[in-house]
Symmetry: C2
């Protein structure tokens, strides 16, 4: 195997594939890029066994040569060192060449690197088949779904099912739901596809949303895996087994207290007041009445803070509720609307954050007990 390749294009290819490679692995081969030079172009693959990314660069693109002087073949090269080397090299063209099966020479006009490498056959077998039906999304649409839901998933591995986004298509539309059991984000979209339900790891979804630029992304979900395809890249992820919690139980049926505010101003007021929420970290109290709307916090140790919200509409009687500022901040940001509605069912009931004029996205948050 041998090739001379445009350095910045190679760096972009490796950067994409490197997303799937972890810093450690019980399987040393997974710390490598699998590179395969074919007559069509260079195929790069990285994996940590759960997430696999494959991408490729053609020999020519729009009549411009990207890869030249090549011979076909494949190899495994340390992802960490190859990334660093390709980043730091100065030259426009880089040459990669395998000697004696297990030494790879990487060079531009000035610098020479000899890396110990491994034979491609030592890479674990991965199932890269694509068996399910395709569902296509526009890049913006996919990114918005992810931004509005994925933050609400759990980051803890104790209940793996909560690290997934639950996707449920009924034939008449689809719902994306994420919850860490303290809060929940639910997004409905109009998409007409075959009915299915899957639990996609939030990690995979987040990485795909970061990697796509303006290309459409095609989701292909089969029994045990999902494949995201965009441009010349395929991202493979296992699905998470198990039943996603019945989240409809978390959502109240009626909301007697309804507050409409400017989202950004409300976030700023909460964040300021929360500075003194020390013993009960990040917890503030919202006090609603016909007289006004106020956020406040109190700490024995440090002091107290309060701020009146000046532009608002409120329906309902006198009502106090305490909650984690960061959960409410995330929810307000996620609904992506200048004005937002906070709807309350009772002091100890979950409450809802929605956008004015967009019922496709709902955020649900569990409050905490009022502490003063």
């Amino acid at each position: 195997m041998r090739l001379s390749i445009n350095r910045s294009r190679l760096l972009k290819l490796l950067t994409i594939v490197n997303v799937a490679i972890g810093p450690k692995s019980p399987t040393p081969a997974f710390l490598n890029f699998k590179l395969e030079m074919t007559n069509g172009g260079l195929v790069a693959l990285g994996s940590d066994n759960d997430l696999t990314i494959q991408s490729y660069l053609p020999i020519e693109e729009d009549g411009k040569v990207i890869i030249s002087d090549y011979t076909c073949g494949s190899t495994l090269i340390s992802a960490k060192y190859l990334m660093e080397i390709i980043k730091r090299l100065d030259g426009e063209i880089v040459t990669i060449e395998i000697f004696d099966d297990v030494i790879v020479r990487i060079s531009d006009n000035k610098s020479n690197f000899q890396l110990n490498s491994m034979k491609a056959e030592e890479y674990p077998d991965l199932d890269l088949s694509i068996l399910g039906e395709d569902v296509a999304f526009k890049a913006d649409e996919f990114k918005k779904i992810v931004a509005q839901t994925s933050f609400a998933a759990s980051t803890k591995e104790i209940r793996p099912i909560l690290t997934a986004i639950n996707v449920k298509a009924t034939g008449e539309g689809a719902e994306f739901v994420a919850t860490d059991s303290y809060r929940l984000a639910k997004k409905k979209i109009d998409i007409f596809t075959h009915p299915f339900e899957s639990n996609i790891p939030v990690k995979a979804v987040n990485e795909v949303a970061k990697l796509i630029e303006n290309e459409d992304v095609v989701l292909n979900i089969s029994n045990n895996k999902v494949v995201f395809e965009f441009g010349t890249t395929k991202v493979y992820s296992r699905l998470i087994n198990g039943d996603f919690p019945k989240t409809s139980r978390m959502i109240p049926n009626s909301y007697p207290y309804n507050l409409q505010v400017n989202g950004a101003k409300f976030i700023n007021a909460m964040q300021r007041v929360s500075l003194l929420a020390v013993e009960r970290e990040r917890i503030v109290k919202l006090s609603l009445s016909d007289q006004g709307v106020e956020v406040s916090s109190k700490s024995e140790q440090v002091g107290s803070a309060n701020e009146a919200i000046d532009l608002y509409e409120y329906e309902g009687g006198r009502f106090d509720i305490s909650f984690n500022v960061d959960y409410v901040t995330d929810a307000i940001r996620a609904v992506q609307s200048e004005d937002v509605i906070l709807s309350f069912a009772g002091e100890m009931n979950a409450f809802r954050v929605t956008a004015v004029g967009d019922d496709s996205i709902v955020q649900i948050i569990t409050p905490v007990r009022n502490y003063y």
Copy 2:
């Protein structure tokens, strides 16, 4: 004590003084700003006992009112919370008012904070006398001296004297020297002052260099402390007791091998090659001969790297030396010259980095044993 004050000017004042306040202290008072409102203006002070910064804001500046509606007095307010509050408030004007001696109310038009505070009398007595003779520096000159020397001081407290910059004025000039015992930076300046020698903590010198903008800085060194005065700010630091090492012993007398290179290109080549310096971390080898100049590294585990330096002048025979890339990078950057001269006395002798055409700054580095 009460005052209404321009928020952004207050934030700037507190940010300066906050530099001296550590995150922890055995003396709780040191976690506070000491604020004193006088008829002249607001004086703010912060200290960790070793380093003390005092600064002040006048009532008016260039005919513009900065502080209004004030009554004199003093108080101690939590540095951490006051900084955060003043940063986050929205209003242009902030009001600070003491109630019942130990509660401070901070407010703008919207937000109210009540902080538990302490009486000013609870602050430890600090010696803020200024007794020595003044030595004045231009801002740029002072910043350059610090940038060229301070990085070479030790960051470890095992030998406190090595965490100082040694300043020695002879009446005919002055020398600034810093060393961590593996490398040394020495800067000579033409300054005509009374003879003295002091060991100034590098921390104080670095903080002053960061704080000064374009104002002259006046150093005032007495027996046990140094005061830096610039604008309306005074920075007090203890000096470090003990004898600074006789650094002249570290510096060879003659250099038979002399290499002149472009500093930036040499740094890039070393940094690239050092990527594979794994077992002997950050160590590269420089090989000099009439045939050429090369930097290289070798690792059993990972592989090897080499790069020819293309533009150079060399005098001396065949010669190899190994060193820490970061020490040489720091030294080349510190001499602040496009072309630099590396002068070698022998494989196991310290070597020198100097600028072409500027003998005021000398960097000395200890090599390591060649390992291949």
